[in-house]
């Protein structure tokens, strides 16, 4: 019998590789492993045939057999990995989810939009060196009026404007009362904001409420100027709205400041071109401010010759309404969860 082991091997190798390649399942591959590499497999039987060979060719053929065996083993293993991979892939497909179904996670709550607004303001002012100071809502008229240069006969001190508890105890009409209290106890340099509830005799409607919120600012130091006031407000608005904001001052009148001004800001939505938010004016009324009146400084024990200062007052509701495009102040107090959850 003529033995062409070399030719047989090559044939086995080609055939085996073809079959491995076309195998579809792990089971098929296992069968191929048994058929070619098993104890009674074809490679094994070739090995057995080695004994019949001459001594000189035996090692050559032996090496050849081993390399074919190694090659087939590696092909088999690779194919196994491949099939395993695609089987996993298929099973993942069968586990697929509708990712558009709603999520299960528990909702966190929300801050009231007024607090969100206040927090943003606080952060900016604290960064500019202002401390946050608070004071009583039920206040002596001295702090709310007299020390702010508002004379006894002033219209604001009327029962038609101010809520009275007794003749000299009222619900504060402005958080400026905190300024007076603070200045009495602290020497300049002073940089504070005082946020809080204030009260005025107003029926509730879409822009008024008997209780609302103010954020007052006060700076007192040597050499504080109206130019400083402008710069402080410009810086604040740019940071608050995150874009360039122009501001303009209009002369106004407040008892506790002189000179006094009302401040408009260029519209933070359109930048001054005119839009719905600014009613096509390009400008939005923002706040009142001025240089602290010398009488106020004196009454609080600060020498107005040595020191000067400025004060400004924001209506928190107004700023929040503008920022979030809220069209009625009532919404803040109604606390409908469908409103609250939007912020």
């Amino acid at each position: 019998m003529k033995v062409d082991l070399g030719g047989d091997l090559e044939k086995i190798r080609t055939e085996a590789k073809k079959e491995i390649e076309s195998a579809k399942s792990l089971k098929e591959l296992e069968e191929l492993r048994v058929r070619y590499l098993g104890k009674k497999g074809e490679i094994t039987s070739v090995l057995r045939g080695l004994a019949l060979l001459a001594d000189d060719v035996r090692p050559v053929i032996g090496n050849l057999v081993n390399s074919v065996r190694a090659e087939l083993e590696s092909s088999l293993n690779q194919k196994v990995l491949k099939i395993k991979g695609s089987e996993l892939e298929n099973s993942l497909k069968s586990e697929s989810l509708d990712v558009t179904l709603p999520g299960k996670s528990r909702k966190t709550g929300t801050k009231h939009p007024l607090r969100t607004t206040l927090d943003a303001m606080k952060e900016i002012f604290v960064g500019m060196g202002f401390s946050v100071v608070s004071g009583p809502e039920i206040e002596w008229d001295v702090y709310n009026f007299d020390m702010l240069n508002i004379p006894k006969n002033h219209l604001a001190r009327n029962e038609s404007d101010t809520f009275f508890i007794t003749d000299d105890l009222i619900l504060r009409t402005q958080t400026s009362s905190v300024q007076a209290r603070h200045m009495q106890l602290h020497k300049p340099p002073i940089r504070i904001i005082s946020p809080g509830k204030v009260y005025r005799v107003d029926e509730i409607d879409s822009t008024h409420s008997p209780m609302f919120h103010q954020v007052e600012g006060l700076v007192v130091d040597k050499g504080v100027t109206m130019g400083n006031l402008k710069h402080t407000l410009e810086t604040f608005f740019e940071r608050f709205y995150g874009r360039e904001i122009r501001i303009r001052f209009r002369p106004h009148n407040f008892q506790f400041t002189e000179p006094s001004a009302e401040v408009d800001i260029s519209c933070f939505v359109c930048g001054g071109e005119g839009c719905r938010t600014c009613k096509n004016e390009g400008w939005i009324e923002a706040l009142g401010c001025g240089m602290v009146h010398a009488n106020v400084l004196s009454m609080c024990g600060i020498d107005p010759v040595e020191y000067s200062g400025f004060a400004f007052g924001f209506g928190l509701e107004r700023i929040a309404m503008q920022k979030f495009e809220i069209d009625s102040l009532r919404l803040f107090f109604e606390n409908d969860v469908r409103f609250l959850e939007q912020f």
Partner: protein, 796 residues
């Protein structure tokens, strides 16, 4: 304050369009609210002269007029009015003309006769009609005008009117003259104060007697007798046009003069029928319940706080507010007394408010007018009386009160002004601006003399504002603050922020509630008659009962919000509020005596109509997590039935070392019902300050290195025994070796005897020093079980 630009033009010539004017005035300190252009709705109406007229051949009531409108051809116009005559000057609406109300006029035929336009009446031109008599037919123009002239010009109906918001410190600007001064200063134009003829206010005390009883409320009272008024005299067209432009109705020459003077000078005037005044004029307080029928025909009951003008017998007018009907001007009035007086602002304001009347006069007095204005007003009225030929002005005037014009002086401090503004004006630059505003200077120029009409100027800061506004605030250079300051939040402020963050992370939305409330809540909360919460701060002048007291409890506001959310069909609401309770308590703070303690409270309210998740234990879990996270340790939950408005079996108080922090639980069903809430709403409230005081510092505790041993035990105990007691026994017996214990089951049922319950715990034993051997753990468990058994809690 309205301003007719035609009228302004009498005093200062502004060469700017109305928009530019509004802008400039706003930035120099007179804020413009809006402006309107009068006469815009009238087009192609001209003055026509009726050349001839004839009866319509087919219609008795119609006249056919031939009208000259200074065009190529005379126009044929048919009219139904009977007051026209040949030679009359009338307003003619041409073919294609437009009239107020969007009316269009076109060539048309009346019973076969062509009419090439329309002759107009007053009302067709949008002019108010002062009396029914005046509206009989076509407006006959008596003023000088040209045929063919535009009617808007001829009747002076063309005007621009600007509406200003005048701040309370500038009552002088509630007048044409005041605004003219401002306009002149704004544009750098010269303004000359009107010069008055001194004979108008020469004195003769014999004829007219005035007695001022209340000199503090009436600083000045000037009266002038004018005799022989021509009752047929109407005010001229120009005056009527201006009054109309300023929103006033022309009435009669005398009344129109008083209004005109008030608008022009800012001095409210009044005119009495002198023949209705018996004896002298007295300025006095009203008698309690004194009655007066005012000009509007309403009988008013006065009180003794109100100032009136009276004669020997009766009240004639409410000072500065409104005149009386009886002494008022009528078409039969022959002799009048002009009043030009100064009344106290607060008195006028309070009287007007009590009577519920706001007049142009009261609104001006309320702002505080200068007593020096009285003579201005009176002189101007006299001037007009003569100019209009209403009567001869008798030289009888009486004046009381201040008359010396002693000006206020301020020593000019330019450094101060520059320092305050952040500018570097020279002394001359400052003076130039002040001069424009009518300020004077002493001879050495060091002292500023404040004009009499500027009661608001007292010092250099006031002058700085004047300088700055004329310069334009917006030209002041912006400059950063010099020096540094540390911006800090107090620990309490940070704690409140932390509470808010934690509540939000637990799924709660923050709400904002009114601190003013209704005392009715005391009943709804079923508080006892002597409950301390009933002792609340009462608002003397509340808007209504609902906001008449300061709350002593934040819960009602929360309940109302829960109810309103249920009312809006919101299935679920998890809410919290960080607001104060206002407790009457006398104490001292750093600024002195205080009468009310404003106590911050964290109030929680929740309901879920769709599921059972939101129950007592849900809220308890939220609270436990909150306390853990902020750093409150060793807190205890104890069942409480002390709160009238809470479910007595489902409410717990929370305390640390015997100090009450707050409570949580289910709302009492009766209270729920009275607030319109479905049963099962949950409420919690905590004293924020007490929480803050119970905070402990956080310190790292070593993570155990040695393995833990777990043991589960199932126990049987009395059904009503709080598990907290079981846990205390277990902890007491196990000492330090017990790392933690976890309740994992509570059960009632068939296998458990009546009145008992089963509880199951998972115990975790661990030591920081060594691995606990089984044997040791078993000993501990035995010890625990023995301790439990002593209390009647047995192993199942």
């Amino acid at each position: 304050m309205l301003l007719s630009l035609n009228w302004l033009n009498d005093f200062v010539k502004i060469e700017d369009d109305v928009k530019g004017f509004c802008q400039k005035m706003t930035f120099s300190g007179s804020k413009v609210e809006s402006f309107s252009v009068l006469g815009e709705d009238i087009k192609d109406v001209v003055v026509g002269k009726i050349v001839s007229l004839a009866a319509h051949r087919d219609a008795q009531k119609l006249l056919v007029c031939e009208v000259d409108v200074n065009a190529e051809k005379k126009l044929q116009i048919v009219t139904g009015a009977q007051n026209v005559f040949a030679g009359a000057l009338v307003p003619v609406a041409l073919d294609g003309a437009r009239l107020p109300g969007g009316v269009k006029i076109k060539k048309t035929k009346f019973r076969g006769i062509e009419s090439c336009g329309m002759l107009c009446s007053r009302s067709e031109l949008g002019l108010e009609v002062s009396s029914p008599a005046a509206e009989e037919g076509i407006l006959i123009i008596t003023e000088e005008c040209k045929v063919g002239q535009n009617i808007l010009e001829a009747l002076m109906m063309k005007d621009e009117v600007v509406d200003f918001e005048i701040t309370s410190n500038r009552p002088d600007c509630l007048s044409i003259i005041g605004l003219a001064r401002e306009a002149a200063a704004t544009y750098g134009l010269s303004f000359t104060e009107p010069v008055r003829d001194s004979r108008y206010i020469s004195k003769n005390l014999e004829t007219l007697k005035v007695e001022v009883e209340e000199e503090t409320l009436c600083k000045r009272y000037m009266a002038k007798l004018v005799r022989g008024v021509d009752p047929s005299c109407c005010s001229p067209l120009w005056m009527q046009a201006r009054l109309r432009a300023m929103g006033m109705r022309p009435i009669s020459a005398v009344v129109d003069i008083t209004n005109y003077v008030m608008l022009e000078t800012g001095q409210p005037m009044h005119a009495f029928d002198s023949d209705k005044v018996s004896g002298k004029i007295i300025v006095r307080k009203a008698k309690q319940n004194e009655k007066l029928v005012t000009l509007d025909g309403i009988s008013r009951q006065l009180d003794d706080s109100m100032l009136v003008i009276a004669d020997d017998e009766k009240a004639l007018a409410v000072a500065g507010v409104i005149g009386g009907l009886e002494s008022g001007i009528t078409k039969d009035t022959k002799n009048i007394i002009f009043e030009s007086a100064n009344f106290d602002q607060v008195s006028v304001q309070q009287t007007a408010k009590k009577l519920g009347i706001r007049t142009e006069s009261s609104q001006r007095f309320e702002k505080g007018l200068s007593p020096f204005l009285c003579a201005e007003g009176l002189s101007r009225a006299c001037e007009l009386v003569e100019k209009l030929g209403v009567a001869a002005v008798d030289e009888f005037v009486v004046a009381f009160g201040v008359s010396d014009k002693k000006p206020v002086e301020v020593e000019l401090d330019c450094d101060f002004i520059n320092q305050l503004l952040g500018t570097d004006f020279s002394t001359d630059q400052i003076k130039e601006k002040l001069l424009r505003l009518g300020f004077g200077f002493s001879k050495d120029k060091g002292v500023v003399i404040v004009p009499w009409f500027r009661s608001d100027i007292q010092n250099n800061a006031d002058l700085a504002e004047e300088v700055a506004r004329i310069y334009d605030y917006n030209n002041i250079p912006s400059a950063p603050l010099i020096g540094t300051c540390n911006g800090v939040l107090t620990e309490m402020q940070k704690f409140e922020d932390q509470l808010v963050d934690l509540m939000i992370s637990s799924g709660f939305c923050e709400v904002l509630t009114y601190t003013m409330t209704s005392p009715r809540h005391f009943e709804r909360l079923m508080l006892g008659e002597d409950d301390a919460q009933r002792d609340c701060v009462i608002i003397r002048n509340p808007l209504g009962e609902d906001t008449s007291v300061m709350r002593t409890n934040t819960v009602p506001a929360m309940l109302e919000l829960l109810a309103s959310n249920q009312g809006k069909r919101n299935e679920r609401a998890l809410l919290f509020d960080l607001g104060c309770e206002y407790i009457k308590k006398e104490f001292k703070d750093e600024n002195g005596k205080r009468l009310v303690d404003e106590r911050p409270a964290l109030t929680i309210g929740a309901y879920d109509l769709s599921g059972k998740e939101v129950d007592f234990y849900f809220i308890k879990g939220v609270i436990e997590n909150l306390l853990e996270r902020v750093g409150v340790r060793d807190y205890r939950f104890v069942k409480t039935d002390k709160l009238t408005y809470m479910h007595s079996g489902r409410t717990a108080s929370v305390s640390v070392d015997g100090c009450d922090l707050g409570f949580l639980g289910e709302l009492h069903p009766t209270v729920a019902e009275s607030y319109g809430l479905q049963k099962g709403a949950l409420v919690a409230k905590f004293d924020v300050r007490k929480m803050f005081e119970s905070l402990t510092e956080k310190r790292y505790k070593q993570i155990p290195k040695y393995p833990a041993a777990l043991r589960d035990i199932a126990l049987i105990c009395d059904e009503n025994l709080p598990v907290f007691e079981i846990e205390q026994i277990i902890r007491g017996a196990a000492k330090d070796s017990l790392e933690s214990l976890r309740l994992f089951d509570v059960y009632l049922g068939d296998q458990i005897p009546q009145g008992k319950k089963g509880v199951a715990y998972s115990l975790k034993f661990q030591s920081a020093k060594k691995t606990l051997e089984d044997e040791m753990v078993n000993k501990l468990v035995v010890k625990i079980l023995r301790a439990l058994e002593e209390k009647g809690i047995i192993l199942r």
